[in-house]
């Protein structure tokens, strides 16, 4: 059982990150808000929930755990977290997608704390599997976490990496699928369906779990489980999420994949996120 104070801290943090993301995207006039919100809780849990080993003052610390955001278009959420943790100055966030900034629409390794250049989908798991293999061979104990979008799993490259990781028994590799059931044009089940998703992952030899990707209790419970609880299998977590989570008028609506809120919407979204904070704090 995860303690209530910790959950409350994480929920507050997630709301703050969502607010930051909202401001970044509104300021830039571009960005992918829906997917950033569906995975905000997962990223917050990884960085603030005591899951990842990391050192903001030394991003290339050899023994850090690796986190790869394969769904690079959700970079805004990760940027907000990295800035908050001190990887770079929070003033950079205001420059998101602006001339001369290090923070573009997708993450790359010029940004402190970013492990891989992503943005073209379907590359992260393969890179993560390579890193996990290296850590295993070096016997240095790092874990590798890869966050992919569910729509991304239509890329065949994801499944190439999937069989590789199972074959090489990469128990130090954890794949988290942001299962928000939407891609750009459609709901996944209407174009490139994945259900029964857990069966597919299990058939590929992964230790597979399914959780509510917005419940910190469930996210932490599964992430805190020691590795190799099922011997020598990489672990896949299907995190059921809602695209646009946190702002009711965005939730589950296709256009919020990359729509930018207008002034009214911005006000409504800010109000809603702020209210949640008050409600939770009381």
């Amino acid at each position: 059982m995860v303690d209530a104070d910790k959950i409350e801290m994480l929920e507050d943090k997630a709301r703050a990150i969502r607010l930051t993301v909202l401001n970044m995207i509104a300021e830039a006039g571009k960005g992918h808000i829906g997917g950033a919100y569906s995975c905000t809780d997962i990223i917050v849990a990884l960085y603030y929930g005591g899951i990842l080993r990391f050192a903001p003052d030394n991003p290339s610390w050899g023994l850090r755990d690796r986190f790869i955001l394969s769904k690079g278009h959700s970079g805004s959420a990760l940027f907000a977290v990295l800035a908050d943790l001190g990887y770079f100055d929070t003033s950079e966030l205001a420059l998101y997608c602006k001339n001369g900034s290090i923070l573009g629409g997708h993450p790359d390794r010029n940004v402190p704390g970013i492990e891989a250049d992503t943005g073209s989908l379907g590359h992260g798991l393969g890179i993560g599997a390579g890193m996990a293999l290296a850590a295993k061979l070096n016997n240095t104990g790092q874990r590798v976490f890869v966050l992919v979008g569910d729509g991304e799993c239509a890329e065949g490259a994801v499944w190439e990496a999937m069989v590789f990781a199972a074959r090489h028994k990469l128990a130090n590799l954890t794949l988290i699928i942001d299962r928000n059931r939407q891609c750009v044009l459609d709901f996944t089940e209407d174009c490139a369906p994945l259900d029964p998703f857990s069966d597919k992952l299990a058939a590929f030899g992964w230790d597979t779990r399914e959780i509510n990707g917005h419940s910190f209790e469930e996210i932490l419970a599964v992430l805190e489980e020691p590795v190799a609880i099922v011997e020598d299998r990489p672990r896949a977590i299907v995190a059921n999420t809602v695209k646009g989570k946190g702002v009711s008028f965005m939730e589950g609506i296709l256009k919020w994949h990359h729509a930018v809120p207008n002034q009214d919407e911005l006000f409504a979204a800010r109000t809603e996120l702020a209210q949640q904070t008050n409600y939770q704090a009381s």
């Binding site: 065949g156 490259a157 069989v163 074959r167 069966d199 597919k200």
Partner: protein
């Protein structure tokens, strides 16, 4: 249409004889073309014979692009030299072509391409055949054709991610006119597949991806033929896969069970000895 012409449609005992004949011819080709992937060609002999002589495929050697044919895509093109004697036997091209495999000016190369009558598409790079076949199956449906698409894949090809993109596409669009056959000979180029990347259990994977799956002994011609027929006839709204468990190099003891048999070539005297043995 030759589907039912008597000389090309054989009963089980003669299907077996056909298989033996195809193996003999394949070895003869290997003697003049040492570069062919003979072991891979030998594992799919029964599959090819069942399709072409067992009333499963509809085809027309006189007009290879006959609209009313079933489409057969050989994605594991490198391992399909055993298809050459069948195409010659059925009249797609003259028999004497078989003596020219790999020779200057021949249409028949060590790896086939779609300039050869009877080959639908070009393969040779792995992992392309199923996607194209899905497009063809979709096209046939749009034309309201009742013809089917058969695809032959090697099990090693399942490592290619593009194959899984197509597997997902086929089940999403209910391509029930698509039959995939996996030549599950369990050996890639350098080793047993399980040692490189374990793709087993294949059945479970296909089930999880929404396919109807069948399994057969790929060298028991009777069983294989009945499973392929059943797969073709099976009324269901999903694509179908037949996993044919085979032995790479089947029929040549020296190759069977050699993890490197993919890249092995037999010496001419070894081939002569095998041919003598097979004919006796």
């Amino acid at each position: 249409m030759e589907e039912n012409s008597s000389n090309n449609t054989l009963l089980t005992p003669t299907l077996q004889e056909k298989c033996n004949w195809v193996r003999t011819e394949t070895l003869k080709i290997h003697k003049i073309a040492p570069g062919i992937r003979v072991a891979s060609a030998l594992s799919c002999v029964e599959i090819l014979v069942a399709l072409y002589y067992g009333k499963i495929l509809r085809f027309n050697p006189h007009n290879p692009s006959d609209e009313d044919r079933d489409r057969f895509i050989i994605s594991k093109a490198h391992g399909s030299v055993s298809f050459y004697p069948i195409l010659a036997d059925l009249g797609y091209f003259p028999f004497d072509q078989l003596g020219k495999v790999g020779k200057v000016g021949s249409i028949l190369g060590d790896i086939p391409d779609n300039s050869i009558p009877g080959y639908e598409t070009i393969n040779g790079s792995l992992g392309h055949g199923l996607g194209v076949a899905c497009g063809i199956a979709l096209g046939l449906k749009a034309k309201q054709s009742s013809r089917s698409v058969f695809v032959l894949l090697g099990d090693g090809e399942l490592f290619e991610g593009s194959v899984w993109e197509s597997i997902m596409f086929a089940s999403q669009h209910n391509l029930d006119n698509l039959v995939l056959i996996i030549d599950n000979n369990r050996i890639c180029m350098l080793d047993y597949c399980t040692k490189i990347i374990n793709i087993e259990p294949i059945e479970e994977k296909f089930a999880a991806f929404g396919w109807k799956h069948f399994t057969a002994d790929g060298h028991d011609i009777e069983e294989l033929h009945s499973v392929l027929s059943a797969a073709k006839e099976q009324a269901c709204s999903s694509p179908k896969v037949v996993i044919a468990n085979t032995v790479k190099g089947k029929g040549v003891p020296k190759l069977e069970g050699d993890s490197l048999c993919h890249i092995r070539a037999l010496k001419p005297e070894e081939i002569d000895a095998l041919l003598r043995e097979m004919q006796s």
